[in-house]
Point group: C2
DNA sequence: TATCTAAAAGATAATCATTCCTATTTAAGA
DNA sequence: TCTTAAATAGGAATGATTATCTTTTAGATA
């Protein structure tokens, strides 16, 4: 589980520290694309002396090294994602909930569409859907 | 130009103030989905006494009343959009540039796709593409 | 047109997520 | 085990945003 992560750190020349492992596991376990604060709260249970600055620095460096991604939101609080595979997001219009949405057919349809239809003056690297709406219940 | 805006304010029961008009025009003219700071800088040219708090308050209330939209980003600085029609965004991976992308065929294709393919436990209200990549120079 | 008043703007302090700084600790290679 | 560059802890600083309080004003009314 954390083995993949340790290997990735080594690949990138980053030291394997308990803080980095804990922060990564927090993101994986918390689901719902947690904030730095969510991560700190979660980690403090088992790792009470972690420093806030460390959490922010680690999150930043993991994003930099492509072990995490940031999620685009309309808030000034950053949220993080441990799912690196190509997927989309469901944004709840009444809560802060953000869920993953995987859909291989959709990916293919969009990728086909942009194989023909080029956008002028723009080289596409990645396409994600932000699907806003309401969760049932 | 600003006539539409004045009418909309009245509809919503909001007073038509010079500050609101100036802020709205700033967003329209600046393009590139400006930040509050961009707006303040722009407005100060013709309206030197505007208060920072007013700008934030007005932006908030215009979003609330659906005269502006927020743009989703990975930064803790909010950006605003005066284009209300259904459109997508091109995000530059190396600069802060965000451009509008309108594509009626694309909208139709996606809308058709989700007419059949329902997402379980989720009622879709709006779908936008965030297209990341690079602008040609 | 002058008067009235709730809403809005201005000025400035407070908040709080994030960043910065630096002394101390530690992962990991020799 | 020793060494050292990298990382962490702890606390101060930053800066976008929000809150508070006073003054002004848009627009309704007489
Ligand atoms: Mn954001
Ligand atoms: Mn901030
Ligand atoms: Zn995700
Ligand atoms: Zn736009």
């Amino acid at each position: 589980m954390a083995h993949f992560f340790r290997e990735k750190l080594k690949e990138k020349g980053l030291k394997v520290t308990p803080q980095r492992v804990a922060i990564y596991e927090a993101i994986v376990n918390l689901k719902n694309h947690p904030t730095a604060e969510n991560v700190i709260e979660y980690i403090k249970l088992n790792h009470p002396n972690i420093s806030v600055g460390t959490v922010y620095k680690v999150l930043d460096s993991l994003v930099e090294n492509e072990l995490l991604k940031k999620v685009k939101t309309e808030k000034d609080i950053m949220r993080y994602d441990a799912v690196l595979s190509n997927h989309h997001h469901l944004y709840c219009i009444e809560t802060e909930r953000i869920e993953d949405y995987e859909d291989e057919n959709l990916n293919e349809m969009i990728s086909n569409y942009f194989k023909n239809k080029k956008i002028k003056n723009f080289k596409v690297q990645d396409i994600k859907l932000q699907i806003t709406g309401k969760f049932n219940k």
